[in-house]
C-alpha cells in the first residue's frame, strides 16, 4: 500500500468517525428553524417553554388538543369557585423527573417566579396573561388561584407552555419537569437533547433520545434530510413537499392558528368606507394566493380568523366574487372610467403595507395587488419593517397592513382580539372603533359559560365579516416531513406540541 493510499484511508476513517451517527429507530433528530437560547433554558422565561413543551420535557396544568379544545393535563379538574377564584386539583401520583412528588406547593413554587421581576424565570407577558393576585395550597393536591379581576381566559392561560410545572433543579435534572422526556443538554442557537423518561406515567416513550438541531435556512434542512443527517424537518419548504414524499418520506400538514390577515385603515382613505373594505375582501382570491405563494400545501384559505372546523371558528367560508366586489364599489359611489375606478374624481388607490421577516408576506401582498388591479383598483405595495408598517397604518399613511399572528396563543380568543380590535387595543393599527365590538370583547372576558362564550366570539367573527376591520387571508399549514414509518405524530394547530410518548418509528 503506497503512502498516499494509506494517508487517504486514514483521512476517510477520520472523516467517518467525525460524521454524525446514521439515523436509528431509537433516536429522533429533528431540524427546526430556531435553537435554544441558553445552556439550560428555563421554560418559564422568554419563549423557552415552546421547545421544552414541544420535545415532551415539560407539561402544563391544562392542555390544548388537536381541535383546539382545552383539556386537563397535569390537572385532574379545574373549577371556578368565585369570579376571581379557581381551584385546580392535581392528578394523583404525579412525580417530577427526579422522582419527587408534584404537590400543590410545588406547583405554586413553579409558577410564582413568573411574576417575580427579580427572578430569572420572570416573564412579563405570561405574568400579564395570568394576572395573579395570589396562590395557596389546599392540601397536597389542590391549588387555589386568585386573579386580580374576573378573567374567563384564566384556565386557558394555564396551557401556555411557559406555565411549566417544574420541581427543584439539580445537576442531574437542571430542568426537573414531568414529561415523557428528560432534558439533558442544550447548546445555544444549535441543539437541544432529551432522553426518555422510562417512568413516565402514560407509558414508556418511543425514543431513547431526541435531538433538535437548528437550521435557519429551510433549504439546508431539506438537504440535510435527504443526506440522512436528520429524521424530521419542521417547516419543510412547501415547494419541495410533493417531491420529497415521492422518495418515500412521510409528509404531514395541517392548518395552524397562525393567520395571515390585513388590518384595514378604517378612519381615513378609501377604506374608511365599509363597502369598499368589503369589495377589497371579495376581490382577493385566497385559493390563488395559497397556490401561488405556498404551493398549495403551506396554507388554507381563511373565511374567518380561526381555522375552519376547529374550536371557536364561526361558519364563514372564504369568498371570492369580483363581480360582487365591483357592484359594491359602484354602490360606494366609485366610478369606473377606462377600466380604472375613481372615487370623488380621484383614482381609487390603495397602498398595501407589509414586512419581510416572514417569507410569504411580500408575495402575498404582491398577488393581492394584482387581484385588486384586476378589477380596476390601483394598488401599490410598500415593504418595510414590522413596527414601521404598523406605525404607518396607525398614522393613516397606508391603507392595508398585511401581518401574520397566532390568533389563539393560549387557545383562548380573548386577549388577541382585544389587542387587534378593541378601540383602545394596543395593536389596533387600523384605528377601528365599534362600540358593539368593544362590548362583546369585554363580555367575552367576563363570561365564564363556554357555550355563551362561543356565541359571543361567533358574533365577533360575524361583525368582522360584515364590517371588515380585518381581512383573513389564509391560515398557515405547518409542513413537516419525516422518515418513513413515523407514527403517533400530527401537526398541532398551536405549533407548541411536537412529540408525545406515543411518537415512534413503526417496527
Amino acid at each position: 500500500m503506497s503512502f498516499l493510499t494509506r494517508m487517504t484511508a486514514v483521512a476517510l476513517i477520520a472523516l467517518g468517525t467525525a460524521m454524525p451517527a446514521a439515523a436509528q429507530d431509537a433516536t429522533l433528530t429533528i431540524s427546526v428553524t430556531f435553537g435554544p437560547t441558553a445552556e439550560v433554558p428555563d421554560p418559564r422565561a422568554g419563549y423557552n417553554g415552546w421547545m421544552s413543551n414541544q420535545t415532551g420535557v415539560t407539561e402544563t396544568l391544562m392542555g390544548v388538543d388537536y381541535d383546539l379544545n382545552l383539556y386537563p393535563r397535569l390537572a385532574e379538574s379545574i373549577e371556578q369557585s368565585a369570579p376571581t377564584t379557581w381551584r385546580v386539583t392535581l392528578r394523583d401520583g404525579l412525580t417530577f423527573h427526579d422522582g419527587s412528588p408534584v404537590t400543590a406547593q410545588a406547583v405554586i413554587d413553579a409558577i410564582a417566579p413568573i411574576s417575580d421581576e427579580a427572578d430569572p424565570a420572570f416573564n412579563k407577558r405570561i405574568a400579564g396573561v395570568l394576572d395573579l393576585a395570589g396562590m395557596s395550597a389546599d392540601g397536597d393536591r389542590v391549588v387555589v388561584f386568585e386573579t386580580n379581576s374576573p378573567n374567563a381566559a384564566f384556565q386557558w392561560s394555564l396551557s401556555d407552555p411557559g406555565v411549566a410545572i417544574l420541581g427543584a433543579p439539580s445537576d442531574a435534572f437542571p430542568i426537573n419537569a414531568t414529561g415523557p422526556y428528560i432534558f439533558r443538554e442544550a447548546v445555544p442557537e444549535q441543539s437541544y437533547r432529551v432522553e426518555a423518561n422510562a417512568d413516565y406515567r402514560l407509558g414508556k416513550p418511543g425514543f431513547d433520545e431526541v435531538r433538535v438541531v437548528a437550521s435557519p435556512d429551510p433549504a439546508t434542512a431539506s438537504l440535510a434530510f435527504e443526506a440522512g443527517d436528520v429524521d424530521m424537518v419542521i417547516n419543510y419548504p412547501e415547494t419541495d413537499f410533493a417531491r420529497i414524499q415521492e422518495t418515500g418520506a412521510q409528509g404531514f400538514t395541517a392548518p395552524t392558528a397562525r393567520l395571515y390577515f390585513y388590518s384595514m385603515n378604517t378612519t381615513s382613505g378609501p377604506l374608511a368606507n365599509p363597502l369598499i373594505r368589503q369589495a377589497v375582501s371579495l376581490a382577493i382570491d385566497r385559493d390563488g394566493i395559497v397556490e401561488a405563494v405556498l404551493s398549495g400545501v403551506g396554507g388554507v384559505p381563511a373565511g374567518t380568523i380561526y381555522p375552519a372546523d376547529k374550536s371557536w371558528a364561526a361558519d364563514i367560508a372564504p369568498s371570492y366574487d369580483p363581480a360582487r366586489a365591483e357592484a359594491l364599489l359602484a354602490e360606494a359611489g366609485a366610478v369606473k372610467q377606462g377600466g380604472t375606478w375613481t372615487l370623488d374624481g380621484e383614482p381609487l388607490e390603495i397602498e398595501i403595507l407589509t414586512y419581510s421577516s416572514r417569507a410569504a408576506l411580500p408575495p402575498t401582498a404582491e398577488i393581492t395587488q394584482a387581484f385588486l388591479q384586476q378589477i380596476g383598483i390601483t394598488a401599490s405595495v410598500r415593504v418595510g419593517e414590522y413596527g414601521a408598517s404598523n406605525d404607518a397604518l396607525k398614522a393613516g399613511d397606508g391603507d392595508m397592513f398585511l401581518q401574520a399572528w397566532v390568533m389563539l396563543p393560549q387557545g383562548d380568543p380573548g386577549s388577541i382580539l382585544g389587542f387587534l380590535l378593541a378601540s383602545d387595543g394596543g395593536s389596533n393599527a387600523g384605528n377601528y372603533v365599534n362600540p358593539a365590538m368593544d362590548a362583546l370583547l369585554v363580555e367575552g372576558q367576563t363570561t365564564f359559560e363556554q357555550a355563551e362564550r362561543e356565541r359571543i366570539y361567533d358574533e365577533v367573527q360575524q361583525i368582522i365579516a360584515a364590517d371588515v376591520p380585518l381581512i383573513p387571508v389564509f391560515h398557515v399549514s405547518q409542513a413537516v416531513v419525516a422518515r418513513a414509518g413515523l407514527t403517533g405524530y400530527q401537526v398541532h394547530p398551536t405549533e407548541t406540541y411536537w412529540i408525545t410518548h406515543e411518537t415512534r418509528f413503526a417496527e
Binding site: A18, P20, A38, P188, A224, A227, E385, S389, N390, F419
Partner: protein, 312 residues
Amino acid sequence: MIGVFTGFLLRAIVVLIGAALATFALLWHAPGDPALAIAEARYGQNVSKEVLDFIRSEAGFDDGFWTAFWAWLSPLMLGDFGQSSVNGREVWPDVVTAMSYTFPLALVSLALGLAVSVPLALIATRKPGSWLDRGAVALASVGVAIPAFWLGLLLILLFAVQLGWLPAMGAETSAHSILPAMTLGFGVAASLTRIIRSGILEARGQPFLPAFTRRGVARRDIARDHVAPHAVVPVVTVLGLELAFLLEGLVVVEVIFARPGLGSFLVNAIFARDFPKVQAVVILAAVIFVVVNLAIDLIYRSLDPRVSGRDA
C-alpha cells in the same frame, strides 16, 4: 515609531467612538418601535401594550437617545458590554462563543484561499497568455462571480446528499467545517489569484529587472529579492480587505450551514434590535479593522522603506 503609534491610537479612538455612535443612532432612528422587535424576539409572539411599555422602560428607551447611549457606553468603558435586551444574558461571553466558531473558520478559509491562489498564480504567470494562464484567470473570474449561498448549497448537494461524505449542517465536529471553509475559501482563492497574478506580472515588467539579468543574477534570486517584494504589496492590501469580505461572507455561510458564529449572532441581534449585542459586535469589528490596518501599515513599512521615509 512612538509617533506612529500615538497617531494610530488617536485614530483608533475616533473610529471606535464613531462606529459606536453611528450604529446606536441607526438602530435608534430606524423606522418602527424597537420595543416591538425585542418583544417578538423575546416572547415569540405579539404582546400587550403593558409588555411593550415594560420593555421600553427596561431598555431605557423612555429616557431619550443620549441617556440611553451613555447608559450603554459608561459600563463599556469599564469593560462591561451589558446584557442582551432579548434574553438578559451577559453579551461578552456570548460574543466570545460566537468568535470561537467564526475566527477559526475565517482563518482556515483564508489559509485555504492562499494555499490555492499562490501556486495557481505562480503557475499561470510562468507563461502569460498560455492556456494555463487563461484557465487560472477564468477560474478566478468564475469564483468571484459565484455567490456563497449558491456555492454552499451546491457543495452540500454534492458532498452530503450525493456522496454522503460530509455532514450537511451544524458545527459539532471538524468535519462540519470543511464545506463552509471550502465555500468561503473558493471566493478568497479566486480574488487572490487575480491580484497575485497581476502583481507578479507588474513586478516582472519593472524596467530595472533586465539589468540584474545582464549582470548574471540568477532568475531565482531576482524572483525572491526583487519580484516578490513588489508583488506582495497589493496582496497585503487585499488580504486586509479579504478579511472584511470574509466576515460579510460568514453571515451567509453561517445561515446556509446552520452554524453559530458572529455573522448569525449579528443578524439575529439586528432583527431583534438587541442594542447591546449589535454594539458589541460593531465595536469588536471596528477593533479588528483598526488592528488589521495597523498590521498592514507596519508590513508596508517593512516591505517598502519609502513609506517610513515619508513619515520622517
